[in-house]
Symmetry: C2
Subunit: 260 residues, 2 copies
């Protein structure tokens, strides 16, 4: 499977503009042979938008914007993972990521469980105990969002649930570059999973995003890594790398589940 | 607290020689103002020694060699963490690390819980559910051994148990350099703990150790890192770094203990 990752500057509050940008990125990714395009956290609305706008722009997981994303996915025969503010059936607003397949069907929706500081907490309710692992083009895929990946428990939960590929839309900012440079590599390697960390670059209000999005192999190697500019990364997933990784580092097998 | 770390080539089967070497390293560390000296895994006996020798050299945690280490600690007014093959009361042999304080008292003994491949399994029984956290010079200290640190669950267990400093005697070999370069930094940062990773260099039988021992700060920064040669590293622990780390990254507070 070939994966494309879009790193860009947020366009806050401009949902139609972000759908248009998604359409352009999907076109480019499809032209380059990708089967999956991964975008940053809260991509449809921007992230640093405050409660009032988050409430106004929040939509159901099958709302109008989701239908727009599904059309883009179908048009380009490409799966898409994207972040958005979700209005739940319970009325609460969640920081969510949805994975839509190349036929426009929602494969899964994940609500960020580990909220980051006042930024997240001022807008969102935390997700409940739901860490879906679904199949996409023969790969078992799980979702996390930004701060979630900094807790090893979350990626481990997905890996023990069968995930071979973890998609992490994010909005990581200065001075947390360490996460881009070290943490995501450790998470991939300790779980022998591919990991896609799709970040913003540029500024949004007082926030300066730190870019450095990456696609990491199951041995922790950087298959592709962005700098601080807008770009689309590409990498090819190989089944053999997962098998070799799990042979060289049988962590999931050796973990003492009687102790932890 | 000033910490010294000894990285050296193993001297397999030579317990008296290794006690003599420990004495020299303790002398040097004390001269340089250290309060704690950390040595590699199975330092007293060598690591790649096989079952027959491990059985022959295994001693109780309060055996003759432990008394020798205690004398060295007392003589130099220096705490010592060292690896050795332990003969348990149950008759089993464990891959253990003991922490002895500057007055020669054993503060704790840890038996490796996560055994590495046939190398470990051919010699040792796995440790039971015992992850002690003890106080040394006002610092809360926990112990892990080599492969243990590659599982995030183990360091997390210690951090949630109050550890601010994790000592990891190790015998890490090529091609597992990733652990020295990435994993140990991630573990320190994700738990906001100091971490001391004391490895061998050089060869022992067919094993080529990968050196690169390190002392890592609670923000994941490398305070000291060895290359592939014998050396003694030094670093100073600062309470302020732990407090700042836990303020900047409140992982232990933000972890959703209701989910994991």
């Amino acid at each position: 499977m070939r994966i494309a990752l879009f790193q860009g500057t947020p366009a806050p509050l401009d949902v139609p503009g972000n759908l248009e940008r998604l359409q352009q990125q999907a076109h480019l990714a499809a032209e380059r042979g990708a089967q999956l395009l991964v975008c940053p956290e809260m991509f449809l609305s921007g992230y640093n938008i405050g409660l009032e706008h988050a409430e106004r722009l929040a939509e159901a997981a099958d709302g109008a914007s989701a239908k727009g994303v599904a059309q883009i996915a179908q048009a380009h025969r490409l799966a898409i993972a994207y972040g958005y503010p979700e209005r739940g059936n319970d009325g609460a607003i969640y920081n969510s990521v949805q994975l839509i397949d190349a036929r426009g069907r929602s494969l899964c929706n994940y609500r960020k469980t580990h909220l980051f500081g006042n930024l997240d907490r001022s807008m969102f309710s935390p997700g409940a105990d739901h860490f879906p692992v679904v199949e996409l083009d023969g790969w078992k895929v799980g979702l996390l969002i930004c701060y979630d990946i900094e807790f090893p428990e979350n990626a481990r939960r997905l890996a023990l649930g069968g995930a071979e590929l973890i998609l992490v839309p994010t909005a990581n900012m200065a001075p947390y570059d360490f996460v881009c440079q070290v943490t995501v590599r450790s998470r991939a390697q300790e779980n022998q999973c591919y990991l896609v960390y799709a970040n913003y670059c540029g500024a949004e209000g007082e926030i300066q995003y730190c870019g450095q999005s990456s696609i990491v192999g199951p041995d922790g190697s950087l298959l592709a890594m962005a700098g601080h500019e807008e770009c689309q990364l590409l990498a090819d997933l190989e089944r053999q790398r997962v098998l070799q990784g799990r042979e060289a580092f049988p962590y999931l097998e050796d973990l003492r589940k009687d102790l932890h």
